[in-house]
């Protein structure tokens, strides 16, 4: 996809024929209008006119439209996918963004002003002024319990969340725990219930009272939503069944970290647990 675009860009001599940041200005303005509303109503899903992007919908087109709408030449961008800067999807998106926006890229989240992500928040603490852009496959946390959008909009409006609480009740009754491995629903500022995109449970508490801005984009569903800095974000849980993050039997097999989110990789002989955030893991090892 983006390789073809790359060819086009080259054939035409740099960016000739393309607007800065690929999207035309009116389309960006439309996305920014949606984002302003989203930031004013933390956790509320705002519809926007999702455009065709040179990536397929479902491959980060929502996040990409946000990134391209808010980016400036002074930004430094990191794009990573399930914790890795080297995945195909991350490479393609990073390539597209850097070419069309003329911005430097980095893998170090501490140097980035804008971080587009799928499934993770960097392990390094982020600071004020940084912007996280999340790629969202399913924007509505009520999708499982109220598949019809007209119904779910009314439920959100009336703050009628008994169905999702029932889902949680059933999890505890049948499994003794919540079944949400990722995308654990969160309550934002005591108002809207929101899906934090498919981040692991490990990352959920990090959205609470965070100094950075979180922007969420679902291209296929044409929805954006946001969590502004220093906003209360509470994973949904019963008062007497506290939310718990993943626990691992060992630390990272590569860097030894015990406070990070680990994933299984197939070693030659047996599977190993290693940091999902590969950049941070590599830095720890070279230090």
């Amino acid at each position: 996809m983006s390789a073809r675009l790359g060819e086009l860009v080259h054939r035409n001599g740099g960016l000739a024929g393309y607007n800065y940041a690929y999207m035309d200005e009116s389309a960006k303005r439309e996305v920014r209008r949606g984002l302003l509303k989203a930031i004013s109503l933390p956790g509320h899903q705002v519809p926007f006119a999702s455009r065709e992007m040179p990536v397929a919908r479902g491959w980060g087109s929502g996040g990409l439209q946000i990134t391209l709408s808010v980016i400036e030449p002074s930004d430094t961008v990191k794009v990573f996918d399930q914790g890795s800067d080297a995945s195909m999807n991350a490479i393609a998106l990073r390539d597209l963004i850097s070419r069309t926006c003329e911005v430097p890229t980095t893998t170090d989240p501490r140097e980035a002003t804008l971080i587009q992500t799928r499934h993770r928040i960097p392990e390094d603490p982020l600071v004020e002024g940084q912007v996280m852009v999340f790629q969202v496959p399913i924007a509505d946390p009520l999708r499982r319990v109220a598949p019809r959008m007209t119904v779910s909009r009314r439920l959100h409006a009336e703050r009628d969340y008994s169905a999702i609480w029932l889902y949680l009740y059933e999890d505890h009754a049948r499994l003794g725990r919540s079944s949400f491995a990722s995308a654990h629903p969160v309550e934002v500022e005591d108002r809207y219930i929101m899906t934090p995109s498919p981040i692991p449970r490990h990352d959920c508490p990090r959205l609470n009272d965070a100094p950075f801005i979180s922007l969420f984009g679902a291209g296929r569903e044409a929805i954006v939503y946001a969590v502004p800095p220093y906003t209360k974000v509470r994973p949904l849980s019963f008062e007497d069944r506290p939310f718990e993050i993943e626990r691992f039997a060992t630390g990272c097999a590569l860097c030894g970290a015990t406070d990070t989110y680990l994933t299984e990789v197939d070693g030659d002989a047996n599977a190993q647990l290693v940091c999902s955030d590969t950049d941070r893991c590599a830095r720890r090892r070279t230090r």
Partner: protein
């Protein structure tokens, strides 16, 4: 029957004294737009011959006091379920007023309506499918009402749901089983447990026993009588079966084609029916 702890986290709704729990005044429900002909009130047919609008019910008034059971009887299509749906705030009447615990709630919407449904009303439908989630456990179906009322402690929700479950004479080992696997009689028991979950002052029963085997039917009726004796609720029970009404109701409304044709004390109406339709109904039954 062991006492079930009242849900502490749920602020109980207070029942004012000296007023009926539920009061309907001149309730008309029209399906369709209506026209000058049928709106005038002279036309009493259920379906308007000019515009084709159907009147689910017309100028129905009733009140139910704490501890009282009101029966509504009538043939199929006479408007019984319509009256119950208005009482449960499921549908807004075309005209007339609804008072719940002394407050006019005719135009209650959204949040307020949800709160009233959660705390003031409990309902059992003829078809359990309309009320229960078939792939959710019996406990979950009962818990849903407490969760909807804002209860957020798992153990408390679960233990109250279990207490209601066993109190409705359901086997404890079926508590975590999806109700889709339950028999018709058991589903009605789950509906009753769900209706009672938030200790509402008003209980609405729409044909709670029709479609069940006679023996099962008798046991459910016994249970309803016990619930009534125990909780002193105001109950409205709808049935086309006079035997059910005779067994449960203190007072009785007879409906026909959307209209109330007769009302009074159950014994009186059944002993000495005045309206020809009621006479027919009683004689057909005996």
């Amino acid at each position: 029957m062991k006492t079930i702890p009242a849900p502490a986290a749920i602020e109980p709704i207070s029942v004012p004294s000296g007023t009926p729990c539920l009061e309907l005044r001149d309730i008309t429900v029209r399906y369709g737009r209506g026209c000058d002909h049928c709106r005038s009130g002279e036309m009493r047919a259920q379906r308007c011959t000019h515009c084709g609008s159907v009147y689910g019910c017309r100028d129905v008034s009733l009140d139910v006091w704490p501890g009282e059971v009101l029966g509504i009887v009538g043939e199929s299509g006479s408007g019984k379920s319509t009256v119950l749906a208005v009482s449960n705030l499921d549908i807004q009447p075309t005209s007339g007023s609804v008072k719940l615990l002394g407050d006019d709630v005719s135009s209650a919407e959204g949040k307020q309506r949800r709160r009233l449904r959660a705390l003031a009303l409990g309902i059992v439908y003829q078809s359990a499918q309309a009320n229960l989630l078939m792939d959710v456990t019996a406990g979950g179906n009962v818990a849903e009402r407490m969760l909807g009322a804002g209860w957020r402690r798992y153990d408390a929700v679960r233990s109250r749901a279990l207490a209601l479950h066993t109190d409705m004479e359901l086997p404890e080992d079926r508590f975590d089983v999806p109700v889709g696997m339950f028999s018709g009689g058991m589903r009605q028991r789950v509906q009753l447990a769900k209706a009672l979950a938030t200790s509402p002052p008003v209980l609405l029963l729409d044909e709670p026993t029709s479609g069940l085997d006679v023996s099962v039917q008798a046991r459910i009726l016994d249970l309803i009588r016990r619930i009534h004796a125990e909780f002193q609720l105001a109950i409205v029970v709808v049935s086309h079966d006079l035997a059910v009404i005779r067994m449960l109701a203190d007072r009785l409304l007879v409906m026909r084609r959307g209209l109330v044709v007769e009302h009074g004390l159950t014994d009186q109406v059944l002993e000495d029916p005045q309206h020809p339709y009621t006479q027919l109904l009683v004689s057909a039954q005996l």
